[in-house]
């Protein structure tokens, strides 16, 4: 079984990278929310599904094409996130993280349940906007999958630059560590926190729109991904954005390799990696340990 042709290996690696693009986008959103707000966002999977459904509803009732939904749906999901943060999550900032986690978890439950009650469980199709592909010699690469990687990379790198390298980003980081200090400089900290949550959630929505043409749009499309993406963030180092992005792509590739060697383990291998990483590097590969 191990005499696998090189074309197959290349193909699997590339496919892994493509899947990694989704992981990276989702885990980036999660890492932003955790890194800057210290909130473990368990609604992330449902917000991912919400993004896909937003695109679907936009095309069905307003005839907004994919390209419009790509911008609008994340904004809509982001606004939901902002409202949720402003109205509810905010009240729990001075409690233990467990309660924030449980609140987002129940938000996820409500979102998924409502989508299922309204749209059923079997899923709804969403048309592929980029039909066709090119033959790379070792595999056939659909245009749409290529597009996913490009968008994901662009968004990931852009977000990382803004938060890690720009002045706005340094305010953000400072805001969450020393809100009192920033307030004296006249910067509105609660608004920044809200916008950060909105941005993280918007990224989940964006991933949802991008997933819509590949997967069936279904209420449970995010719940499988949720704990996998959590694992990605932990491996990368909670709060490390670069770590989340790299670990996302790396996991995609690792899954690809597992599919070659022992396919049934492909969705479990990540947890083995996570245990190993946490035992050796307690704060994740790129994390700084905060006690």
């Amino acid at each position: 079984m191990l005499n696998i042709p090189i074309q197959t290996i290349l193909g699997q690696l590339l496919l892994g990278l493509i899947n990694g693009a989704f992981y990276a986008l989702l885990s980036l959103g999660l890492a932003i929310i955790f890194g800057l707000l210290r909130v473990v966002n368990f609604a992330h999977g449902a917000q991912f599904a919400l993004g896909a459904f937003a695109a679907l509803i936009l095309s069905r009732y307003a005839e907004v094409p994919y390209w419009g939904a790509l911008v609008l749906a994340p904004v809509i999901v982001g606004i939901f996130g902002v409202l949720f943060e402003r109205l509810f999550l905010r009240r729990l900032y001075d409690t233990e993280p467990t309660y924030q986690l449980l609140l987002t978890f129940s938000l996820g439950l409500m979102t998924e349940g409502t989508l299922r009650a309204l749209f059923g469980s079997s899923g709804v199709p969403y048309a592929n906007p980029l039909i066709g592909g090119i033959n790379l010699g070792f595999m056939f690469l659909p245009f749409y999958r290529g597009w996913v990687v490009v968008v994901s990379l662009a968004i990931c790198v852009g977000t990382w630059l803004v938060i890690e390298k720009s002045k706005l980003g340094s305010y953000l980081r400072a805001a969450t560590e020393r809100p009192d200090l920033l307030r004296t400089f006249g910067i509105n900290v609660p608004v920044m926190v809200t916008l950060t949550y909105g941005w993280g959630v918007g990224l989940a929505g964006l991933a949802g729109v991008m997933a819509a043409p590949i997967y069936q749009v279904s209420p449970s499309m995010g719940s499988h991904l949720l704990i996998v993406v959590f694992a990605v963030v932990v491996i990368g180092g909670m709060g490390s954005l670069g770590g989340a992005i790299l670990a996302g792509f790396a996991l995609g590739v690792l899954e690809g390799i597992t599919k070659l060697v022992y396919p049934p383990a492909s969705s479990t291998v990540i947890f083995a990696v996570m245990v190993a990483v946490l035992l050796v590097k307690p704060a994740g590969v790129f994390g700084r340990e905060v006690v």
Binding site: Q7, T8, Q12, N19, S122, P125, Y215, Q216, S220, P263
Partner: protein
């Protein structure tokens, strides 16, 4: 001692709330249960709409049996065996004579054992596992609508008939997937075909491009999807991107009208579904479908449609026996032929398998479809003896 008073108050509350749950026993209706997924991932396969179909049957039967009014209790097992079996146990102990539908195999197998224990009847509608009439067969259980074997037969034979003699399987890494692949392989090899490879995926996988790529490079003429329905439709959708069809045929073994609708005809066209029912196959089936749609807003699938016949047949047998003793009623059900709007002269095998002809349906091209629910054309009918695997006395002692 305020806290002590609190604890006593607490106790009173507990006891009072217990009393609230206590059942008042007035006139005893004849109770049958509809146990299925009413809210979760499988709700579209059966769900609350099936309860409606069962109500039709009760109404058409006259609302009474053995002089008692018939009551249908609906319950949600949330796809969790402990919830499902717990509920079933409670129903049986509370006087429910028969449970219909169920779904998820792990729940069904739990109830199969329970029904035998309690000597009650259970009639499976949306459950697929052929084990119900195989190694887990029971004199108290009837497998009514279809099973995993029948589900696959149409797609496999149709592909074989069109020259698909080399196969590659994408199989879910579960006993269910194994069985499906094993059954399909038997049919393929009997027809002179060959299985040249397979790959297994975990049940929580979402991306199948890697498996599809392997299947593509294997050069097999047919890619068989021996997997659960949700995954199957996802694979079909993803196969579009990689341009797998028309070079290779995709044989989706477990699929239903809801899934075809979910995929959309553009993607689904040409797929084969083996089903006991299609709403547009005869005047009688159309009449039932209209009635169903008026009530629920959608067309029935085979589970929902066949639930009607299952309840009707069961009630007939109860009336004929004159009691709800499960062994006697089920023996009676096996005695009399099944006849309703969708099943003609159906029989029940000793192992509990309902034998009925199955329809081979093919998803239409988008341009051929004239309406929302105009999804299939009927290709042919598979006679009952070919639609189901023969009974195997070596695994089920009931089979003769």
């Amino acid at each position: 001692m305020k806290l002590k008073r609190f604890s006593i108050a607490c106790g009173i509350c507990v006891i009072a709330s217990l009393a609230l749950f206590s059942t008042s026993r007035a006139q005893e209706p004849f109770k049958i249960g509809h146990l299925t997924d009413l809210s979760g991932v499988n709700v579209d396969i059966s769900g609350p709409a099936t309860t409606e179909a069962m109500r039709f049957a009760v109404d058409d039967f006259g609302g009474k049996v053995l002089g008692r009014p018939i009551e249908i209790i609906a319950g949600d097992h949330l796809n969790k065996p402990d919830v499902g079996v717990g509920l079933a146990r409670k129903w049986y102990d509370g006087g429910v004579s028969a449970i219909f539908d169920v779904g998820v195999t792990s729940v069904a197998l739990g109830i199969q054992a329970l029904a035998k224990d309690k000597n009650k009847a259970v009639i499976y509608i949306s459950t697929g596992s052929a084990d119900i009439t195989g190694k887990n067969c029971s004199p108290n259980g009837i497998h009514w609508t279809y099973n995993s074997y029948a589900d696959a037969v149409g797609a496999v034979t149709e592909a074989l008939a069109h020259g698909g003699d080399t196969w590659y399987f994408l199989t879910v890494d579960y006993a269910y997937g194994d069985n499906l692949q094993r059954d399909a392989t038997k049919i393929i090899e009997k027809a002179g075909g060959k299985v040249i490879g397979s790959t297994r995926h975990p049940i929580d996988a979402t991306d199948f491009s890697s498996d599809l790529l392997k299947a593509q490079s294997s050069g097999a003429k047919v890619i068989g999807l021996a997997t659960i329905t949700n995954i199957g439709t996802n694979i079909v959708k993803q196969s579009e991107e990689f341009g797998i069809r028309p070079n290779q045929t995709i044989a989706l073994m477990s699929v239903d009208i809801q899934d075809i609708k979910a995929l959309g005809l553009k993607t689904a066209q040409g797929l084969i579904d083996t089903s006991s029912y299609y709403w547009n196959s005869s005047d009688e089936s159309r009449a039932f479908a209209e009635r169903f749609k008026r009530k629920t807003g959608k067309m029935p699938n085979q589970m929902q449609a066949s639930a009607y016949g299952a309840v009707l047949h069961y009630l007939k047998a109860v009336e004929a026996v004159g009691s709800d003793d499960a062994l006697k009623v089920i023996a009676k059900m096996k005695d009399i032929p099944i006849n309703d709007f969708m099943t003609k002269n159906g029989t029940i095998r000793p192992d509990g398998r309902v034998m009925r002809d199955m329809l081979v349906l093919q998803a239409k091209k988008p341009e051929e479809s004239t309406g929302d629910w105009d999804l299939f054309s009927v290709l042919r009918t598979i006679p009952a003896k070919d639609a189901f695997a023969p009974a195997d006395p070596s695994v089920c002692p009931l089979a003769k």
